[in-house]
Symmetry: C2
Subunit: 585 residues, 2 copies
């Protein structure tokens, strides 16, 4: 059953028109690249998603992962597809070329990841973590570790994992109990249990390379004393060849609501006291390094939300055009169905814009020659990461729900992929830091960071955009609604800063989720109106493509139907209501 | 695994304090009953739910229904539990005692149905339809049909179904193609295919009694020409004994996202031209009769939304009190978790109030001696039915999602019941008329009904409540927020009426879902504030019970966090935005 659908035109619009990827090729880092190359990669990626990932998606959900003789068995066809995926160079599209990355822009990686995630998220997860581990080694590991591990992570012989969570330490990662003790040969003996480890075991690759948070005995409690270790399932000798089986074992694979073809494992490290690992980077700096990997993973959660929402929407749209109901009319002609489809469309396109824009900011942060712009781009990525993660996963889930509802009874049965999209997208709101944690990150860390600079820069850019649109008569009302929303975000941010200065801790924590939501709505309205501006230019240049007219309608729709939520959430925050705190549960 | 949890105190508060069920015992219909009896039934019901329904809930989901030798096999233990359920008299708690009902108030039925639905909704569904079929026969069938069928539907020997949907006719029920032809002996030959039939086949009962919508050959097209038939799986002779196997066959049982232990079947009637049925009531009056059954079923969808939300919330609450995360603190002490729990609590208690209040309105409509009050109660039920159905199922789903999120990763794995609650509640937004249809029913039919009388009476009651609370200083702000919301509902209703008079059809249809939502929020705020009033009275009478203080906080919370949504939805409607209609999909 072929299920994956994506609006390729909108992907290209984002990359080549709205975000104008060509700009990048003026910088040293991308000087050997060009738009043709980018188009080719996008085409290859989509073709691969449709021909190799999509056909395994539904069957993998039915088959699930299971344990056999102590090893996790993944569904049929996954092993071959994973190998081909790596062979095609898709593991490290935007990582450095040194050990096997392709050095392409993050924007291109974001778009191809949308295709891979949307067509088979559980399968993609294995590769996403391989890339993450290689990337962390390249950034922080010794040349010897890179030499021994990276190439095989990129070429698909091995795969990677992130081992953070323990039964007693989920959101509170500082409470981990896994310990490390230095051996005479410079390696460390690792002891502990890790829970919910994606790809923690599988029969896809000949080896699995775990990155493990652990505390060297005697180091400080909390996050400060945490170090990061590289723990291969099968020992890797300095020359890169395999040694003996390491003392790390999968003792359980979870039965889950969704992403059933992705193995979620419980791992025991050092049950026999013989688990060895390498320290990555400096001792006690594990959280900082893990955060790099986590930030990437958080963007990928956002992509998961957007990508599954996008394919759910496109499927619902196709269904609504075909499904006749009453008076020989396809259901798309019923206004309430049409409104829901427009809502899905506007949200999907807004999220796509947000994610690709963040991708471009990453590219600028890495590749722009001007340090001021680099710095500003870095700030932007930091500010937008929790919004990408939480907003896109929560909204992505809502969209799959709406898509399911458009199918009626057919949405609830497994004959159609919609219910699987809904089950599969839900995890994106939970893993890599539950969305409540993202909201606290945005409010507690990002808003206050550099004396408010991240937020100020963002506010200024949006304000400048509004000012630049003063003469836009066609979208006059929409621009003025955006201005009002921006002012509301600023007003709420001021209130939060005020609370911070007066030592008030409860009210900000009560408001964090709302603040993330209203910032997200405002950002999407800005992006959709900015896209409408590009569309207006194309139209005045003579284009008759309905795509552009739809872009203007999409922005208008979002402003009328979603943006008012900003005032509502501001009202929630500014009510300063404490009844939930007073409640005696 | 025992999973069902409910706030029994709140159930009793609704029935004995807020809605004062004692009132009913003054009326003839209930004169032999008393509060002690009601308490006993509630206790028995909850005990039964916990001891017989709950233990089968998770296992039934794992086992699912499947077909074997042409018969649907339900999960282990279901047959015995169903028999005991009927034996205890739970099939017809509030139906007439003539053939096996208990003649108790609908309020009591609503509460016990909350227990049964919350503890095992797929199992309860079989019984819900048995009751529905008996009830429709008692209202419209001949004494002979009642005599032959009702007792066995109540005592659990047989069960019932509602056969409406066909592959090409879901929401557009007027498009059904199933046909009926009168035979010489007065029976009808039925031919057609029905889809998504709950309990369409099973091995629970010795016979299955289908109610089937079909068109007598030559009758008008559309809903006007539809008749209702009684089609037993095994023929029933006039004396009630079983005859030969009827020509109705289950050809498929669906694999679904949830309610997996409830058999959702495709039925073929008359493949060999030998399917016989009895006409119920008058020819061509099938829709009217089916609507009675559907209205009951719609309230039960609301109960499903509320009941699963309630147990999901109670489970999440218990988890939040136990789960330590960071600084030796249970997560309930984190303000953002606490806010979400308060939101679940407020919504659950508001929905419970709405459903039980609707139950009381049904009781008044049936039992009150004064015809004016009877009529008004009937109007209220008609107005509130689509709100109960759509608002409670949609919000119920949101609450299960929040509860899942509170569990973090543990919410996503099948070890905990939360993900099953979420999967099981989703169908309530779809079946018995998808929620989009409910919204159109409220706006197109109920709002306009009797020249607006239903809505006017409701508006007057709410306005009167606000006026009566003028001296309520403790809840002054909340009452004034409610007043504003009521005025907004009225303003929007006026706009819709205006559209109607000017022949504008698109804008009302675009606004229907929003209108249902804002009316729902306003109704819940009214109910929670009315409950707070009762709590204030108890406190001023000297009660120290924290339950009452929490009721006041709950109302306050709802007004601060949910009620502002009314203005937001009004803004959506009053924007009169048509961009979704103009969109070229």
């Amino acid at each position: 059953m072929a299920t994956y659908k994506v609006d390729e035109r909108d992907v290209h619009f984002n990359i080549f028109e709205y975000l104008n990827i060509k700009e990048l090729t003026a910088y040293d880092k991308y000087k050997d690249q060009n738009e043709e190359l980018y188009k080719m990669i996008l085409n290859e990626g989509l073709k691969f998603a449709l021909s190799e990932f999509d056909p395994l998606y539904v069957a993998g959900d039915r088959e699930e992962c299971h344990m056999k003789d102590g090893v996790v068995i993944v569904p049929k066809g996954y092993k071959e597809a994973y190998a081909k995926f790596a062979e095609n160079g898709f593991v490290g599209i935007d990582t450095p070329p040194t050990y096997g990355g392709q050095g392409l822009p993050c924007m291109i990686n974001t778009a191809t990841m949308e295709f891979f995630t949307g067509s088979n998220v559980p399968l993609l997860l294995y590769a996403g973590l391989s890339r993450g581990v290689a990337n962390i080694l390249e950034a922080f590991g010794s040349p010897e570790l890179c030499q021994a591990f990276c190439a095989n992570l990129y070429n698909g012989k091995w795969s990677g994992t992130m081992c953070l969570t323990e039964p007693q330490a989920g959101s509170a990662v500082g409470d981990i109990r896994t310990s490390a003790k230095k051996n005479a040969d410079g390696t460390y003996t690792i002891t502990g249990n890790k829970l919910f480890i994606t790809g923690g075991d599988q029969n896809l690759t000949e080896n699995i390379i775990h990155t493990v948070l652990a505390r060297v005995e005697g180091d400080a409690p909390g996050t400060k004393g945490i170090s990061l270790f590289l723990v291969p399932k099968i020992w890797v000798k300095p020359d890169g060849t395999l040694g003996e089986r390491n003392d790390v074992n999968c003792v359980n694979v979870e039965h889950k609501m969704g992403i059933k073809a992705s193995a979620t494992c419980t791992l025991n490290f050092g049950e026999e006291g013989k688990c060895r690992g390498f320290l990555i980077g400096e001792q006690s700096r594990g959280m900082k390094m893990m955060f790099q990997m986590m930030n990437e993973a958080r963007l990928m959660c956002g992509v998961q939300g957007e990508a599954l929402a996008a394919t759910a929407y496109e499927n619902a749209l196709a269904y609504a055009k075909e499904r006749i109901q009453g008076a020989n009319t396809a259901i798309i002609n019923y206004p309430n169905v049409r409104r829901e489809l427009a809502l899905c469309k506007a949200w999907v396109e807004g999220m796509r814009g947000l994610l690709y824009l963040t991708g471009k900011s990453i590219d600028l942060a890495h590749g722009h020659p001007d340090d001021t712009i680099k710095e500003k781009a870095k700030n932007r990525v930091e500010l937008l990461t929790p919004i990408c993660k939480a907003y896109c996963s929560d909204v992505g889930f809502k969209i799959t729900e709406m898509a399911l509802q458009i199918y009626g009874g057919y949405g609830y049965v497994s004959e159609y992929p919609i219910e699987q999209y809904m089950r599969d997208v839900k995890i994106a709101s939970i893993y890599e830091g539950a969305n409540g944690i993202q909201a606290l990150d945005l409010m507690g860390r990002k808003l206050a960071s550099k004396a408010g600079q991240l937020f100020r820069e963002f506010y200024e850019d949006l304000t400048q955009f509004v000012a630049s649109q003063e003469g836009n008569t066609e979208l006059k009302n929409e621009i003025s609604a955006l201005k009002k929303a921006i002012d509301t975000v600023a007003q709420v941010a001021m209130k939060i800063a005020e609370w911070g200065m007066s030592g008030e801790k409860t009210k900000p924590m009560l408001s964090a989720n709302y603040f993330l939501e209203l910032t997200g709505h405002t950002t999407l309205a800005y992006i959709l109106l900015d896209q409408a501006r590009v569309a207006q230019a194309a139209i005045s240049n003579g284009s008759k493509d309905s795509f552009y007219r739809n872009k203007i309608r999409t922005a208008r729709f979002f402003v009328a139907h979603v943006l008012p939520m900003v005032q509502m959430r501001a009202k929630n925050i500014l009510s300063e209501d404490l009844s939930s705190i007073e409640m005696e549960f």
